[in-house]
């Protein structure tokens, strides 16, 4: 199929259509409504139907087209010994300078095919879910148009054939993230969260843009043909420092987008947006764009081992850092947010040890189980009438059984229990770390896996097990299951959380590592270390053991939680008191936000105030005022020339004339 451009542009058309109708309808409604009507009422059914059909339909159609394109490509690629050549479709010449052009061109190769598959599929499911979740919102049309715009930007990012076009998509998803996080724009903290997301992304984008310039400087081109050049180690004026710097800059961009420390601060706050937004953008798709970027530029990163080490350590550090914070959170969405940050850390860890396909595999599986978890939490929140504090939940297993079962499956997947998806992808990462000799990274990853299992099962226990806690309106007794538009996507995602792992069954267990072979053509491979199958199976058993330990521990502390809402688990409470100040620090997110405020924001504000008061008001205004004053002074002095006597005037121009004559005489 040669019409790759349709895939991003169908959601764009959806955005335009939905947006236009929403605008027109809302202005018509504003004219018709008298002041007595309360705002925020749901839209009429016909309009909701329209928005839903256009929204879901455009993305669904894009998904169908995607699969129509990538399935033949994938099958053909598996059969061919070296994989198929990428399909590139050039649509339009965007910039031309001299003999270098940047085109709007879309590229389908193994890497983008993988991303395309789950982005469109999970995206469609989430659109369907949103139909049910957002039906009572007045901004229903606005929501779907923004969501479609996001899909357009994300698909542009995934299918881009050059770094500039990727960056267009990159910025687009950042914008849509801001728009959607601040969807409830009348709430201050939602708007602030949107701003925080955008600004933190901006810091990363700064690095990204410089990185793109660096790539161009090194290779003379910024489209992905530079990957080929890098693979063949062809560099114009090869400078290892230059490669290192460019890698760092690109990685800075990836950190911003994929919420690595210290640019992770926007992701937990982004939970202020609607839950399907959190599922789509901040779990399955946008945040993985950073990993995608690193995988795309893998050939470049491979040329700079120092950069790779940095990537790995930042990834590992973020993983364990976020996992510790997740242990102490009480808001169900915040736990999932920190879990996302932690899992993203895993992906970067994989890339850092050279196992780019392992990282991409984890992106793939993570999309399914994380989206399932987020959508499930949305279902929980809806049934609890918008209560998000887990301490007020409990005993929901019987009341919302479908949500419970799907979330349990997804939790087991993320914990890495065999044979669900998370096990295979996480194990591929840990195995690669061990195989390449980075045992410290392996240890960190293993410990974090245990933490992951623990806090995820804590979430499940506090939400679903035990007796119903909470008072007032959000009573567990009044909870009811969600409509099918919400539960069907949950089941589909849970199913994929189970089977998606089968794409990457390692050789040691008798599989053929299909995904690794599939991606081979697109990503770079540093020296491939071999590990004995025995060792590999041993490590797998170890990780399963760690996971099960985490699950069991969480069950022990929270499974039979019978305490009041404030101290759900007496054991946990005792532990928290024992850890004292450290515990409080962890509970307060390690004070990162306060640190950034003190180290970065506060000085900037002081500088800004100084420039405003000291420099602008005093100096620049002073110059303006002084010049006005001088002109006035001059005028006051010069006015004495107008004496009113014609003789003086005659004298004046006679003097001038004399001067002229003198001048002419001299020259």
């Amino acid at each position: 199929m040669n019409q790759l451009w349709l895939i991003p542009f169908l959601p764009l058309a959806g955005f335009l259509l939905n947006g236009l109708v929403a605008l027109v309808a809302s202005s018509a409604r504003a004219e018709n409504e008298s002041g007595a009507d309360h705002p925020g009422a749901p839209l009429p059914y016909a309009q909701r139907l329209f928005h839903g059909i256009v929204g879901v339909g455009s993305v669904g159609l894009a998904a169908v087209l995607s699969f129509a394109a990538l399935v033949p490509y994938a099958l053909g690629s598996m059969r061919a010994p070296e994989g198929l050549a990428p399909i590139v479709q050039t649509v339009y010449t965007w910039m031309a300078a001299g003999d270098y052009t940047v085109d709007v061109a879309f590229r389908l190769d193994a890497l983008s095919a993988l991303m395309l598959s789950f982005v469109t599929f999970v995206g469609t499911l989430i659109h369907v879910y949103s139909v049910g979740y957002m039906q009572k919102e007045e901004g229903y049309g606005r929501y779907f148009s923004y969501l479609n715009l996001f899909m357009f930007a994300m698909l542009t990012l995934v299918l881009a054939d050059s770094l500039p076009l990727l960056f267009v998509g990159w910025e687009g998803v950042g914008l849509c993230s801001y728009l959607l996080i601040g969807y409830y724009y009348d709430k201050d903290f939602c708007a602030a969260a949107g701003k925080k997301a955008f600004i933190a992304n901006r810091v990363g984008d700064f690095g990204m843009v410089l990185g793109i310039f660096g790539v161009f400087a090194l290779f003379g081109t910024a489209d992905f043909s530079f990957v080929e050049l890098a693979k063949r180690q062809v560099l114009a004026g090869n400078a290892p420092l230059g490669v290192y710097a460019v890698c760092l800059l690109l990685f800075l961009g990836a950190c911003g987008k994929s919420a690595q420390v210290p640019l992770h601060v926007w992701l937990p706050d982004a939970m202020a947006g609607p839950t399907p937004v959190s599922a789509l953008i901040h779990a399955a798709t946008m945040v993985t764009a950073g990993v995608y970027l690193v995988a795309r530029c893998s050939a470049l990163f491979v040329l700079s081992p120092d950069a790779l080490t940095l990537v790995a350590w930042i990834g590992a550090g973020t993983a364990i850092f976020a996992a510790t914070i997740g242990l102490a959170q009480n808001d169900i969405k915040k736990v999932l947010a920190y879990s996302t940050v932690s899992q993203l850390g895993y992906m970067f860890l994989a890339c850092g040890v050279g196992a780019f396909s392992a990282g991409m595999f984890h992106v793939f599986t993570h999309a399914f189980f994380k989206a399932c978890l987020f959508l499930g939490s949305g279902s929980v929140i809806m049934s609890m009438h918008h209560e998000q504090d887990m301490r007020k939940m409990g005993g929901l297993a019987g009341r919302i059984p479908q949500t419970f079962r799907t979330m349990l499956v997804a939790t087991l997947a993320i914990a890495g229990v065999f044979p669900l998806a998370g096990f295979f992808s996480k194990d591929m990462i840990l195995g690669s770390a061990a195989a390449s000799g980075h045992w410290a990274l392996y240890a960190v990853g293993l410990f974090t896996a245990g933490l992951t299992a623990f806090y995820m099962f804590r979430l499940v226990s506090m939400t679903f097990f035990g007796k119903a806690r909470g008072h007032g309106h959000g009573h567990g007794e009044h909870a009811h299951e969600s409509p099918p538009t919400m539960t069907v996507p949950l089941w589909i995602l849970a199913a994929f959380s189970v089977v998606a792992g089968l794409l990457g069954v390692p050789v040691a267990l008798g599989g053929s590592d299909r995904i690794g072979r599939f991606l081979e053509a697109s990503v770079a491979h540093p020296e491939i270390h071999e590990m004995s199958h025995g060792l590999e199976i041993g490590l797998m058993l170890l990780s399963v053991g760690v996971a099960v330990t985490g699950l069991a521990w969480a069950w022990r502390w929270y499974g039979k939680a019978a305490g009041p809402a404030e101290a759900v688990s007496p054991e946990a409470q005792a532990f928290h008191e024992r850890t004292g100040a450290l515990g409080r620090l962890v509970a307060n997110k390690w004070n990162v936000d306060e640190g950034i405020e003190a180290l970065v924001l506060s000085p900037f504000r002081k500088i800004g105030t100084f420039l405003w008061r000291g420099f602008d008001a005093l100096f620049i205004d002073g110059i303006a005022n002084a010049s006005a004053f001088l002109v006035e002074l001059l005028g006051d002095l010069l006015r004495f020339f107008t004496t009113g006597h014609v003789r003086n005037y005659a004298l004046a121009f006679t003097l001038g004339f004399a001067a002229l004559v003198a001048y002419v005489w001299m020259s």
Binding site: T642, T643, G644, H645, V646, R647, A650, L651, T654
Partner: protein, 111 residues
């Protein structure tokens, strides 16, 4: 300045002398215009300056052997006549308004 142009009849009086006289006349007229307080006297000084210029024109016409200079003088005299008429009319009007012809006393545009 040199003498007459080639092909022109020579002058008995050196042309430079005429030029000096004309310039001096101009300077005298200028002094009068700047120093007198009576408006009429100023006017007369201006007329003197114009005549000095006429003399210059005539001198150059003779030096170049060109009749155009005399033509210019002709026109200058005619225009001076017109100018004198109008200027004196203004002078009369001024006198009627202010009862004086002292330019120092008619300084309305003072700051």
């Amino acid at each position: 300045m040199t003498g007459v142009l080639p092909g022109v009849a020579p002058m008995a009086v050196p042309p430079g002398a005429f030029l000096v006289v004309a310039t001096l006349l101009f300077a005298i007229g200028l002094a009068g215009a700047l120093l007198k307080r009576n408006a009429l006297s100023i006017f007369l000084s201006i007329e003197l300056m114009m005549n000095a210029v006429n003399l210059l024109f005539l001198t150059y016409a003779r030096m170049r052997g060109d009749l155009a200079g005399q033509m210019i003088v002709f026109f200058v005299i005619a225009v001076a006549a017109a100018e004198a008429a109008v200027g004196l009319a203004i002078f009369v009007a001024l006198f009627r308004a202010h009862r004086t012809v002292d330019v120092d006393k008619i300084a309305l545009l003072k700051w």
